[in-house]
């Protein structure tokens, strides 16, 4: 089974390579891209089942023993993240097939999509910090190119900010790597974790914490935390719909994921680091949601909400109890699905209504009730209205805050919920309820073809399933959190031979 560990990276790579070769044969390329996505989902499911029974799946690349070679490690968190990555990728590929006219799609889209998935999955499964850097770069460069695929002026503009700020993050990451290697002499996460535990026990973790803080900044930029999120609202609304859905679902989550690894493996028991993260997390929640409240573009609103919800997850990491971490993992799972779906539905609505500007949209509820219902599922979920998934995610964070008696965090989380609701229903009222400003507004039959809704229906079904089966799922998240909070399991799985 351990041979399959590298598959989340290799399957997208092969798919990407074949798609590059097929770039002049659009239909074949799309077909292969979808097949590749399906295989990825299959592989991810297999891994998930496997990791559930054997806790850790470890594979040393080239069979060089850890920590000297590069080790790939899949624990519960990594497995579920890989699955969600594959799902989001598949939804995006599917959407681009059925909803975009052939001419609108660059032949480079599908190869880049799978390169991106490769980078993202790689970031989830690698057990080596330098390899994480390489995976980040793969992910980042593919996202750079995807951002400018259509070549519109605003995309170029957004891309300049996105590229420069993310290069900044990469440089900080690399600097942190240099400092950490200088101190620890290794970049294998399990190996570092041993050293970190020893250093903490001997009260000389100071330099390590400095390096950890630098990592934290690098990952915080990636995650879109306050005050590092600027690149996100500047760029996410500019690319084509499937691209922004993919970004919205995955990219910031890689940052959050890296923060989880950082705080559980490399900076254990770092009270100061957790405090900083908590304050920044709450600030992220609030600034994100305030930013969204003033916007009038569908995807702009949704982009700001990504920031605010990253705040929730970060708060979960910062509180750091088993409950909080489980809630954070649950939030991650729920949010990837819901956010991608909202971008897709919002994209269809904007396409049908002729604009993303809420002042120029309207009439969609009467024109296409099914689309309206399909919007309501993720929108209610994001707003935390039960019985959808977002309610349980929010409940988890709130409970974790109450458990630790962090009242200001609880208050901020609840207040953020009110504004989220406001934004989601602002979109509903303006795009769906209000009459369309142009009196002759009517949907063409090919615009409201049912086929276009399939990817969103699938994602909405997952959202509902997460809500209804939140008990078993949260149980899984708790197990994942326990794994995260017990680095010795991870260390043993990676370095078991050496210890």
């Amino acid at each position: 089974m351990n041979g399959l560990v590298a598959a989340p990276m290799l399957v997208p790579l092969v798919t990407a390579a074949v798609c590059t070769l097929l770039r002049r044969m659009a239909v074949l390329q799309r077909g292969f891209s979808l097949v590749g996505s399906a295989v990825e989902i299959g592989v991810a499911l297999l891994l998930l089942v496997e990791v559930n029974s054997s806790d850790y799946l470890v594979s040393n690349m080239g069979n060089w023993q850890a920590p000297f070679g590069i080790t790939l490690v899949i624990d519960r968190l990594a497995a579920v993240m890989v699955l969600l990555t594959a799902l989001t990728g598949a939804a995006s590929a599917w959407y681009s097939w059925i909803s975009l006219p052939k001419s609108a799609l660059s032949p480079a889209f599908h190869p880049l999509l799978h390169f991106l998935l490769m980078g993202v999955s790689g970031a989830f499964i690698t057990g080596d910090l330098f390899n994480l850097y390489v995976c980040f770069e793969i992910m980042l460069l593919s996202s750079f190119v995807m951002l400018v695929l259509e070549g519109k002026a605003e995309q170029t503009e957004g891309a300049v900010k996105y590229v420069v700020l993310n290069l900044m993050s990469s440089t900080i990451f690399l600097t942190a790597l240099g400092l950490l290697y200088a101190k620890a002499g290794t970049l294998n996460m399990a190996d570092i974790s041993i050293l970190a535990q020893e250093a903490v026990a001997e009260h000389r973790a100071g330099p390590l914490r400095l390096g950890g803080l630098l990592f934290m900044v690098a990952f915080a930029i990636k995650a879109g935390m306050f005050p590092f999120f600027f690149w996100l609202p500047a760029s996410y609304h500019t690319p084509s719909v499937p691209v922004s859905a993919l970004f919205a679902g995955l990219l910031t989550k890689v940052g959050v994921f890296a923060l989880i690894r950082l705080h559980t493996l490399i900076m254990p028991n770092d009270v100061l680091g957790h405090e900083i993260l908590l304050v920044l997390g709450v600030a992220t929640m609030i600034t994100g949601v305030l930013g969204a409240a003033g916007q009038m573009g569908i995807r702009r609103i949704l982009s700001f909400h990504i920031i605010s919800q990253v705040g929730y997850m970060v708060v979960g990491i910062a509180i750091g109890t088993p409950l909080a971490l489980a809630a954070c993992v649950f939030y991650l799972c729920h949010h990837i699905v819901v956010k991608s779906n909202l971008f897709l539905v919002g994209g269809i609505a904007a396409d049908c209504a002729g604009s993303e500007d809420l002042r120029k949209t309207g009439g969609m509820w009467l024109a296409w009730p099914l689309l309206g219902l399909l919007y309501l599922v993720p929108a209610l979920s994001l707003s935390g209205i039960p019985p959808f998934s977002g309610f349980f995610a929010k409940l988890g964070i709130v409970s974790a805050g109450v458990e630790r008696e962090l009242w200001w965090v609880v208050a901020a989380a609840l207040a953020t919920g009110a504004f989220t609701l406001y934004s989601m229903f602002k979109i509903w009222i303006e795009a769906f309820w209000k009459d369309h400003p142009s009196s002759g507004f009517r949907l063409a039959p090919e615009q409201r073809s049912f086929v276009r809704l399939w990817p969103m229906l699938a994602l909405a079904a997952i959202t509902i399933a997460i809500g209804l089966m939140s008990g078993p799922l949260f149980h899984f998240c708790e197990e994942a959190a326990l794994q995260l909070l017990n680095p010795n399991g991870y260390i043993h799985a990676v370095l078991g031979g050496r210890l």
Binding site: E137, G151, E154, E157, V160, G178, Y181, S355, D357
Partner: protein
């Protein structure tokens, strides 16, 4: 050397904060150099020999420089080059499509109430 690294970082940041895209690009390049230097310097510079196993010996001499940071830097140089190349193409494109490279005027995508389409 660490002071030189500090100066490199300072210069790079100064460039990044300028208005011209070209200066920002130069800043990124400079930042790359500074980081590579930092990795090498921070890892100790203890070696007095190159990390190549001498003819006839089975293992690396104890006096050799640490090979691992060198491998990291090599990878980083190449990745940095790829990124710089892409950033340059982007700047070029920005120039051609928008007609200027003044980043202070690149604020259309952040304006409130405005939607690209």
């Amino acid at each position: 050397m660490s002071i030189a690294i500090g100066i490199c970082y300072a210069s790079a940041v100064y460039l990044l904060l300028q208005r011209r895209l070209l200066q920002v690009l130069l800043g990124i390049a400079l930042l790359g150099h500074a980081t590579n230097l930092l990795i090498l310097v921070a890892s100790g510079l203890r070696g007095t020999e190159v990390p190549i196993i001498a003819e006839g010996a089975a293992t690396l001499s104890a006096h050799a420089a640490d090979p691992l940071p060198q491998a990291f830097i090599l990878t980083a140089i190449v990745i940095g080059f790829a990124l710089l190349g892409f950033a340059l193409a982007l700047a070029y494109r920005c120039m051609r499509v928008l007609g200027h490279d003044d980043i202070d005027e690149l604020n259309n995508t952040d304006r409130l109430d405005e939607v690209g389409h």
